[in-house]
Every structure is written in C-alpha cells, then in structure tokens.
C-alpha cells in the first residue's frame, strides 16, 4: 500500500484524531440540516427553516447555541453521577464507531483486521448509556423508555450481526478495507468493470441490515424508546441543554456511521470504478464518494422515518425473532453454499 503522507506515527495519529473529532459533529449537522430540517419539511409540505442564512442553513448554529445556553438541570432524585455519565457513554460509542470507517485506501483512523467485529461491538455500547439514562433519571417514562431500548437494541443486534456475516463470508475477511477490496476486485459473471458491490449478491442481507439499523438507531417505525406521543421522549425526557445535545449528536452521528457501514459493506465503499484500488488519488476522491453513498443510504433511513407509524414493543420483538433472525440465518447458509459451490 502506498501512503499518502510520510509522517511520524504521533503526527499522523494527531491529524486522524482531530479529523475524526471534527467529523462527528459535522456529519450529524449535515444529516440534521439536510434530512431532519429540509427533507422532512418538504415531505410535510412545509418550508422548514429559511430565515437564518441561505436556505436556513445557519439554523443549526442557532439551535446549538440555544442548547448550550440552557440550564443544566438534574432531577432532584436523579442518580447524579450516572445521569451525567449516560450521554457521554452514548456519544463515546458513536466516536468509537468512526475509528474503523474507511474513506480511502489510507483515509482511515485505524485499519483493524477485525473491523466488522469491532464496529458491531462498540455500536452496542450505546445500550448501556441509554439504560443508564433511563434508570438514573428517576422518571417512570424514562425508565420505560430505557427498558424498551434495552430490549429492542439487544433483539436487533442479532439480525444486524447475522446480516453482516453474509458479507463477511463472501468477502472472506473481517477487515472493512478488505471488504472494499473484495468488492472492487470482484466480478459479476466475468464482468468486473464496476466490481461486485455486495448489494447485488447480498440483497437480502442488505435489507435485513437496513431494517435492523433502523431499529438500532431508534428511528421510526422502531422508535418506541423515545416515542414522543407515549413516553414523551423516553430515556432522554429529563435531559436538557448540553446533555440533550450530546444525545442528539449521538443519534445522528450513529445514523451517519451506520450509513457509512452500509456503504462500505454493500455499496462498494470509497472505490470508484476505473481506478486502481490502491490509487493514491482515491484518498482525495474517496471521502466524496463515501459522502454521496452515505447520504443516499441516510435518505432511505429518514424517508422511512417520516413516513411510517411506530410499531408496538411486542410486535417489534416478534418481527425480530420470528422474521429477521431466521431470514438472516438462511442468508448465511445460502451464502456458505454458494461460496463452496462456485
């Protein structure tokens, strides 16, 4: 592999860290503005924010300042230490996800050999934070929300991982860069010009992954943990100001990260057809390609979110255990058979 820049280890790490830390708020801002503000408004025949800045693009800055100005309120009976820690834990899980997301041959914070495994593992950390928030708020709505979140996230962790297993079997690696390589160098019946994006061979896995991701992100139709009209916000009902902002950023940061995972594993990642996989120029173009693919995936996530009603908790569990998990298992078996036969 060629390297983009020849820098000492600590400098490279510092740059990567800085970029990653800057990327997370930026990405969640992009998603919020583009989808939550504008797309949702247009779908609901509204205009959305349009006063602050061009097309209301500075509205978010105003929102962020508003959140920062708000008083940091703790409920009187809250478990203060856990209450304060919870949003940080949730956000930490999001930050850790970004470590392995590749945006180019070298544009990755850390190229782990077990990247898929790592991503799945850290993404489920957020359950802990949500449970902590729900429990420490000393609020019954928050408690119900936290418990629902725990039940739901654990139930959907399984189909998520099982769906990814299909990709892993086909790519023969747990390394996310390796999966991009496998797609770039793959061939469809001897035709290799566009590589072999796994969405073609693993379409079932892609669907299961997207549905499970929707549930992992607690987006409608799986948003019972927050459920504004029943639990008035669920686990984060007692949070205000900066702490709420952390939850908010984590929600959209994770949505971005999951879209990125989907883009890497199913849509070919940062590779552009016609380029060599290790071409240095892809370190520059790759992030752009990734961003386009991520926004495409995120568009579907938010489209579903604004369109569908919410399921009930028991229906959601049934859906996970009776439909998604058997399908995901069948997908693995089929992938295995095809892998051996062809």
């Amino acid at each position: 592999m060629t390297t983009l820049l020849a820098l000492p280890y600590w400098q490279e790490t510092a740059i990567k860290l800085g970029v990653a830390l800057a990327v997370i708020p930026t990405t969640s801002l992009i998603l919020v503005y583009l989808f939550l503000f504008k797309m949702m408004a247009f779908m609901q025949s509204r205009l959305g924010p349009n006063d602050t800045g061009p097309y209301g693009s500075l509205q978010l800055i105003a929102e962020a300042i508003k959140f920062l100005q708000k008083e940091d309120i703790h409920p009187a009976q809250a478990d203060r230490r856990v209450f304060r820690m919870a949003p940080v834990v949730v956000l930490a899980s999001t930050f850790l996800l970004y470590v392995v997301l590749p945006a180019g041959p070298d544009a990755v914070v850390q190229n782990l050999d077990t990247g898929v495994f790592y991503a799945m593992a850290v993404s489920s950390l957020s359950v802990l934070g949500i449970l902590m928030a729900g429990w420490a708020s000393a609020n019954k709505y928050a408690l119900l929300g936290g418990l629902r979140a725990a039940g739901q996230l654990i139930a959907y962790e399984l189909p998520l991982i099982l769906a990814v297993m299909g990709v892993v079997v086909q790519a023969e690696t747990l390394n996310l860069q390796g999966i991009v390589h496998a797609q770039a160098t793959g061939e469809i019946f001897g035709f290799g010009a566009i590589g072999n994006p796994f969405i073609l061979t693993q379409f079932l896995a892609f669907l299961i992954f997207m549905i499970a991701a929707q549930a992992e992100l607690t987006q409608t139709p799986f948003d019972m943990p927050v459920a504004e009209t029943e639990l008035v916000g669920g686990f984060h009902v007692e949070y205000t100001g900066f702490r709420f902002l952390l939850f908010f950023m984590a929600e959209f940061g994770t949505a971005f990260a999951f879209s990125a995972l989907a883009a890497v594993m199913f849509l070919g990642g940062w590779w552009i057809p016609g380029f060599d996989v290790d071409d240095n120029i892809l370190n520059i173009l790759g992030p752009g390609v990734m961003l386009a693919k991520i926004l495409l995936v995120a568009f579907f996530i938010f489209w579903v979110r604004f369109t569908y009603p919410r399921l009930r908790e028991d229906q959601l569990q049934k859906f996970a255990w009776k439909i998604l998990i058997p399908l995901a298992l069948a997908n693995i078996v089929l992938t295995g058979i095809f892998k051996v036969v062809f």
Binding site: M40, M43, Q44, S45, R46, A76, Q77, A78, D79, A138, K140, Y141, L144, T220, P221, D223, M224, A227, E228, T229, E230, L231, V232, F306, T307, Y308, P309, R310, L311, R312, E313, D314, Q315
Partner: protein, 390 residues
C-alpha cells in the same frame, strides 16, 4: 442563607427518599404511571392514572376537571344570545356545530322557525365544521402512533375549510354566527364555488390519509383488534358519533332524529363498521369526512332563496318550557336540555357532550392493554377536553 451542612442534610434526605422509592417500586408488582395532565396524547389536560404491570395496564382511571369552566352555571346568568359565545368553546375544533343545537332548542321553545335558506346555510356550516374537526383527527391519529407526516397534511388542508368558515362568519374557531330565528348574515358572493373547490381538495386529503395510514400495515397492526368496544357496551355507556357506528350500530341523529336541518333533503349514507376496534373508528371517521364533503356539495347546489332571518323580537324572551335538542356533532351526540321560565336567559341548561360519555368507557376498555395501546385507544376515541370538562 443555606449553610453547607443544610445542603448536605437536604441531599441526604433526597438520596434516602430516592432509595426508598426505588426499593418500594422494586418490591411491588405494580407501577402507577400518570399519563397527563400534561402529555402530548391528551389534547389538553386530561390525566389518566394507569396502574401498570410491566407495560400492561391493570387499571386505568381518567381524572379530569383541570379545565372545568362551569358553563352550565354561567349559562344561567346570561341571556340566550350571550350563551352561544360560551357553548362555542365546548368543542373548539367544530365550534359552529356547538351553537346549532342550543339555538334549535331555544327556537323550539319560542316556536320560531328559521327560514329555509338559513337552515341550509346552517347545515353547510355544520358540515364544514365537521370536516374541519375530523380532518384534524385523521392526521392526529397518525401522530399518536408515531407517523409524523399526516398531521401536517391535516393542518394544511383544514386551513382551507377554516378559511371558508371565516369568510362567512368572520371567525375561524369561534364563529358565534347562529342566531335565534336564523343566521347573522348571508353568505358572501363567490363563496359557493370556492367551497366546492375546497371540497374537492378535502376529498384528495381523505385519499392521502387512506394511502398513508389506512393502507399501512404498521397502522393496521397497531389499530386492528386494539380497544374493541362491543355494541352493548357502547350503548350502555352512551357512546355516540363514530365511536358508536364503529361498533356496528347504525344510528345517526342527522338521519334518525333530525331536528329540522336540511339533511333529510339530500342523498347521503351513514357509515358503520362491525369491528368496534380503533381501526374501525378511524375508518368510520374517514368515510364520514368524505361523506360530509359530498353532503356539502349537494347542499351548495340547492341553497333556497329567501330571507336569512325569521322575524324575532329584538329582546329575546323564551316562553316557559323545557326542550332537549341534540345533533350529530363531529364528536357525537351534542345536546342541550334547556329549562326556561319565560325569562331573558335560561333557567337551567344541561349540556350533554359527546366526549364525556365517550371517555367514560376508558376504564372498561383499557384493562389489560399495553401502554402504546392506551395512546391508540385515546386517539381513536377522539375526545376534546373542552368537550369533557365543559
């Protein structure tokens, strides 16, 4: 000044209290969850005290009175024309429909009859307020179960109907337009054609709701079989309106006990659904909104000419007597029992509101449902708080 030791003491007490509470809640099987008084699903300030076992409701008890304004008492110290201002505010989404039965009851006692033109325009405005009211329900039901988009469509299209009401009456929410013996004013020029085009748009809105919610599998999964009210329970509790018709009972006061408005002169039908669940209630209301647009269309075609007001004395005194007149309002049967002593104002007014009876079925229907179903059922029973508390 609070000393440090004071603060420590308070923190200790709070911590102990928190511990005690947590322990108590862990020990007992049931948890009490107050839905409301301030909760997005209660359209105001209704409180439902639920005893929960896990997420299952053991007992649900509605507690109201947070908005009780004592209209029955206030009506006793007002004159008849002044009362319409009050009753306007009972069901604030379909205000004009509230005035009509009151005025009709007073007219019945006075043995005055509004001229045909006034009756037709009354009926049109009545149906317009039904559409305005029910269209908001059609969208809001989506929000109750998590779909954000329909309610925006509902607000957008309800605005058109409100504009039409405003053009005639001058008020969007509280027209106060009905008078004993007729109406305050005639309809403005060009209004008929505008209303007709609005009705077309409202039918499109109904189609949108059908696509977005009725045909949606998740909506059906959330609503079908949830909150089933059998016919005999519905009758015994005095449920009315779409809630009654969704339980399979073919009863509509517009057809069966028409107090004299123009409904019996046009062609329309009453929609019923045999299931009695939340989905049936939504479906019936959707069909009713559509039917109401058809009713308005037909009424617009045949508005008779003539005066808008019957001859009534300037100072209205209603002869002694009693009358109960009820009409099929957007929410159900809304009736006024007026006792008159031949005075300037009523001696006693009993206001029979639909939501009061409709919500009284809540403790019965909510036994054993899940917390999300509480919201679905509350949404589908469709109450307006001013209509419960009066």
């Amino acid at each position: 000044m609070t000393t440090t030791s004071d603060r420590e003491q308070m923190a200790y007490v709070a911590a102990q209290a928190a511990d005690a509470r947590v322990n108590v809640e862990l020990d007992t099987g049931d948890m009490t969850l107050n839905i409301g008084p301030q909760h997005p699903a209660t359209h105001g300030t209704l409180r439902i005290a639920c005893k929960l076992d896990g997420e299952q409701v053991v007992v649900a008890e509605p507690i109201m009175g947070y908005m009780h304004r004592g209209y029955e008492k206030l009506c006793e110290v007002r004159t008849y024309p002044q009362c319409t201002t009050l009753v306007n505010r009972i069901d604030w989404l379909g205000s004009f429909a509230n005035e009509v039965p009151f005025i009709l009851a007073a007219e019945r006692l006075m043995e005055v009859e509004a001229p045909p033109r006034a009756q037709w325009i009354r009926t049109i405005l009545f149906e317009l307020s039904r559409i305005a009211n029910l269209s908001l329900f059609l969208g809001d039901m989506g929000v109750q179960i998590g779909a954000l988009t329909p309610v925006f469509f509902a607000f957008r299209d309800r605005e058109r109907v409100l504009n039409q009401i405003e053009e005639v009456t001058g008020g969007r929410f509280h027209p106060n337009f009905d008078r004993i013996g007729g109406l305050k004013d005639d309809i403005p020029k060009g209004w008929v054609d505008e209303t007709r085009s609005v009705m077309t748009k409202m039918r499109t809105f109904c189609d949108e709701m059908e696509d977005l919610l009725v045909g949606n599998e998740i909506f059906q999964a959330r609503c079908r079989g949830v909150g089933v009210i059998p016919a005999d329970v519905a009758l015994g509790h005095g449920l009315s309106g779409a809630n009654l018709r969704a339980s399979g009972i073919d009863w509509d006061l517009r057809r069966d006990a028409n107090p004299g408005l123009a409904w019996d002169q046009i062609d329309w039908r009453v929609w019923t659904h045999p299931d009695g669940d939340s989905f049936a209630r939504y479906w019936v209301r959707l069909q009713e909104t559509r039917e109401a647009t058809r009713i308005v269309d037909q009424l617009l075609d045949g508005i008779p000419t003539g005066p808008i007001m019957a001859k009534v004395p300037r100072i209205i005194k209603v002869p002694a007597g009693e009358a109960y007149v009820s009409t099929e309002n957007p929410l159900g049967e809304m009736g006024y029992y007026i006792v008159s002593k031949g005075d300037l104002g009523p001696f006693r007014v009993k206001i029979r509101t639909p939501s009061f009876n409709n919500i009284s079925v809540v403790p019965w229907v909510m036994k054993g449902v899940y917390v999300p179903d509480v919201i679905t059922i509350l949404g589908s029973l469709y109450f307006i708080l001013g209509d419960i508390d009066r």
